[in-house]
Symmetry: D2
Subunit: 345 residues, 4 copies
């Protein structure tokens, strides 16, 4: 598939909430692409997503999509523990791959998957959608254009409105791998240097989360090779909505992105001045970014270009999350080898 | 056409900028509808819009759409001077009608068109898209819910980034009919009472506009039956972008909607704190409202319900614009008959 | 009194709320000045203000201050109906004069007072304190520096938190002379051109105010010689606090000043994002302006310079308020002679 | 000194920039107090401050103030290395003491000074002025009132506009003791629990500061006994002005305080929307807090009450700064004994 004029044919693997969202966006919001089929062991889910995507093929086994010559690329939205295996098989089948984050929780399986991708020479993009948020894109372009000079301090606030169910948390890999991973990738996206030190601390205020051995509140510090320091603060429960803020401070100034609200209406009464509660959660806040990440994937594959969020990016984010976990458990700074991103200890 | 499950079939009449926009939205953003054909004497334009709308029929004469049984409704986006005639013919053909604002500049022709609509019993909606802007919708719902108590003062600021070409202004009907008409409708939408007094003053700072006998800067005051006063200020040229602000003040508080910017990035440097220039113009600022007005039209027609922005609304806005023109020309308050909206003088 | 090194000696006439405020500021916040005495028929009030001002002399008749050679200037804070008479006598006694606004409600008495000032050659400043508000000063300096180019639209919002008692309103001269007069002066301060047209409309939502034949809600439009249009909106009752906003729009941009709040604390919870209610009223909002207007008066008198807010300014504001009253009563635009500011009708 | 009606007599020790400021505030802004004398080895400085404070006594040796029976209290504004000694002597002389921060850099000398205070039974307040900032006061009252529920995350941003001269930095004790100490105290003020863990990381971007072995950029993490985590970020050079922000996030919501600007004027032009640069530095931003801390000191001493910012507070802030220094030097979390605040290692 390289002719500019051709539409890209897509198979969607996994028809849960995020698969459904990608199905809708591919059918409605993204040009030069069409969805051929949807695979999910829960056939009803697959059927619903196929209807939304106007796709003809509905299967319960993703392998039935991989064997189809007419499919150029797959979008992997299945559960995390299946990602690595599907990547290996899809690459072997010569399909370009868009895979939801994280690639996996296990470093060996990630490496195996990325090697399969390399060997097959297919395009691979990992679903760090926040990189495509228009506000964050604009902020980063301004950082790259030198508006803040040398970045020195980065602040990322990322708080969810409410924790997921206990059964989800149990298999999530913990706060750092499940939630902070987006912020760790954002830090790398903004500073564009190797991280050399990772320190993390955390607390569990919610007894149910504490009982699972996880935390619900954390601060992670990253130190980059050039001296910039990034602090990330996370919470599983912000009662006022989905709190997503960025700040990059440098030698020449500071850039910030504030939260979004459903409307811009402001109300003044005897008690004060009031605005909307923040947008509820990621599907509201990052709606556009989900469109834009796939648009980018489609365009890059169609024109034979490198993916903009690589397997390397996916691996590095996992390495940082694992380093944060080690730091929390061992109460020490984890020094990373700048060349590999591996714990230097 | 009344079965809930049926899709609505649309013909688009006029394939200029706004016709193109509606074509895209009908095809991509609005469910339960499809575009059958596009009519425009400029066949290339019709063809382009049909491609966007995935429509099969391309004609140079709108009558070729009106004769088609398969078309349930038409969306009229042709030049203003053709609206009344097309409405009459479309109504006679039994088509439901969505018509861009204003219906016409001439009261008799508006009345004739609306009578044809009434007689035919078709649905009719006028394209006051700003009523569907999510911020304005939320503000109005809060006004209706009593958050500001009795409305007493309404402020509407509406300033364009730059004036249209002289040839456009020459046939536009003047600032009040061309530009203020949206704001006059918004005032009625917010206060929901008859206007009893209209006063307007204006200036021409741009020599080219003065040479055409028009103004580029104006303030209009409306007094409603219940005593509320609305001030509208307009300018043809706001160098900082498209300035669209609302405020409703009442006995229990105040509601406001501020301007929109392309991104929420804020930049601090030695010179101060900076945010984006405002969104450039109406296609950016009111993007969603164009989708939502047609979605509403489609749903209401499909379910056999009254249109939400009626021919009466279209007529009243023109009456207010004409009253403003009279006030400016004669330097007096124009008193309106609350029952008819006509100049009581 | 002209030696730069000498302190200015002040007598305060009238020890009500505003006299008390000036007494405090003169004693505590303003250099190169001291208060010699305070006059008020209510001797207890005079005594209290003298204590605050660290003044030795307490009298019930202001004439006892005027005869004192040691007093350089008087600050007139008595009731409006006494202003003109005291000005005439103070001027005759060779005292420089700072007089609260308005000078009087009667044009002849204003003119007589100003003639007395001219004849005596004393300095005279009228208490339009808002001109000295740091935000408004900064905005005006930027207007003068050309940041908005040619001013085209000016918006002044000025709403009190609650109406004064009926007995006050009865003798206040009505909304325009009592409340709008500050805004009319502000419009002149910002645009710096003669006003050529005045139009006003208003409503009474409060039955008690309606019963007094006054209004509580108004919009005034001013048209300046150069074509700029100013709209002023007033209300006697804004339940959310003292609403004081300015905006100057011109060919090169727009300048605004927003409201002030007691603190900058913002609170986010499940219901939304909340900030303080606005500052309660003028003593909070314009605290600094009261210091700065007297500081300017003291410095100008000490250095023998013209006052920055002249008797002419005081007269023009009254003329505009009277024109607004005429417009409201007669339902017509009042055209003013640009040379004199008098009704041209 | 205990009679409520008596004025407090003050001696000022040290007439540098901050001594001058206190002299002005005591004379102009604070009731029930007068300044008897000023001591500074630089007699010209002492004279200037005495003139501002309207004080009669000017001496070069603070002991000449301590021997005066008429002096109730001293305000110590001399260089940090003299604080402990003067406290000991002033306490022995029975004077109440207001001392600028930090008490000292050396723990033994701090303890000795505080023991002298205890033994003498005099009142002692340390100059953590930011606790008295109206915004921060309001935020803390709302935290205490439970508006955010249990505090979980605290963020303090504190960045200076430009670094002090090298000679100042050399003797400053380093970034943590000189600059972060205010923020460390603020964290304790907001959370009101013992700190159990301290972690710090930092960088030197300015070669001149690096040459002195100091850092100019840092992030400090504090973990409180109840699990709350506070992150403090500091920079010696924010080109956009003095950046002072607070945020307290908890189980029920979030409270923030944003930066202050000289004016509230906003300017919109073709390049965007612009506001003032931030206030320049601490004398602008914390102007009111300097008045309010001394007002509180004066009132508490006059009424025989405990100081609101105690010697214990002064000691704890130094302990935290020293722990941060240790953490940075040794690359480890410093665990503190919750009972004493001492390094538990």
């Amino acid at each position: 598939m390289s002719a500019k004029s051709r539409e890209l044919s897509i198979g969607i693997i996994g028809a849960g909430r995020i698969g459904m969202l990608h199905a809708y966006n591919l059918a409605r919001r993204i040009p030069h692409v069409h969805v051929v089929g949807v695979a999910d062991p829960r056939l009803a889910c697959a059927r619903a997503a196929a209807a939304v995507a106007r796709a003809d093929v509905v299967v319960d086994d993703y392998r039935q999509l991989l064997v189809r010559q007419s499919i150029d690329a797959v979008v992997i939205c299945s559960s995390t523990d299946t990602h690595a295996r599907i990547i290996v098989e899809a690459a072997a089948a010569g399909k370009h791959i868009f895979c939801e984050k994280p690639i996996d929780h296990d470093l060996d399986r990630i490496r195996e998957a990325l090697q399969a991708v390399d060997k097959a020479g297919v395009r691979f993009q990992v679903g760090f959608n926040r990189r495509f948020d228009p506000d964050f894109q604009a902020l980063r372009q301004q950082v790259c254009a030198g508006l803040v000079g040398v970045p020195q301090l980065v602040r990322i606030t990322s708080r969810d409105p409410a924790p997921p169910p206990a059964e989800y948390i149990r298999v999530s890999g913990g706060l750092f791998l499940d939630m902070s991973i987006h912020d760790l990738d954002m830090a790398r996206f903004l500073v564009q240097e190797p991280v050399v030190d990772v320190f993390a601390t955390g607390s569990a205020f919610d007894p149910a989360i504490a009982a699972l051995g996880d935390i619900d509140t954390a601060v992670i510090l990253l130190r980059f090779a050039g001296g910039a320091i990034c602090s990330i603060d996370n919470s599983r429960r912000a009662v006022y909505g989905y709190d997503q803020r960025l700040e990059v401070f440098g030698s020449r100034g500071c850039l910030t992105v504030a939260n979004h609200t459903p409307t811009g209406v402001e109300h003044w009464d005897g008690a004060g001045q009031h605005r909307d509660r923040l947008q509820h959660f990621f599907l509201d806040r990052y709606q556009e970014s989900y469109v834009l990440e796939l648009k980018e994937f489609v365009e890059r594959v169609r024109h034979g270009r490198e993916a903009s969020v690589s397997g390397h990016d996916g691996l590095q984010a996992v390495l940082l999350a694992l380093a944060a976990r080690t730091s929390l458990q061992e109460g020490r700074t984890v020094h990373l080898d700048p060349a590999t991103g591996l714990d230097a200890a």
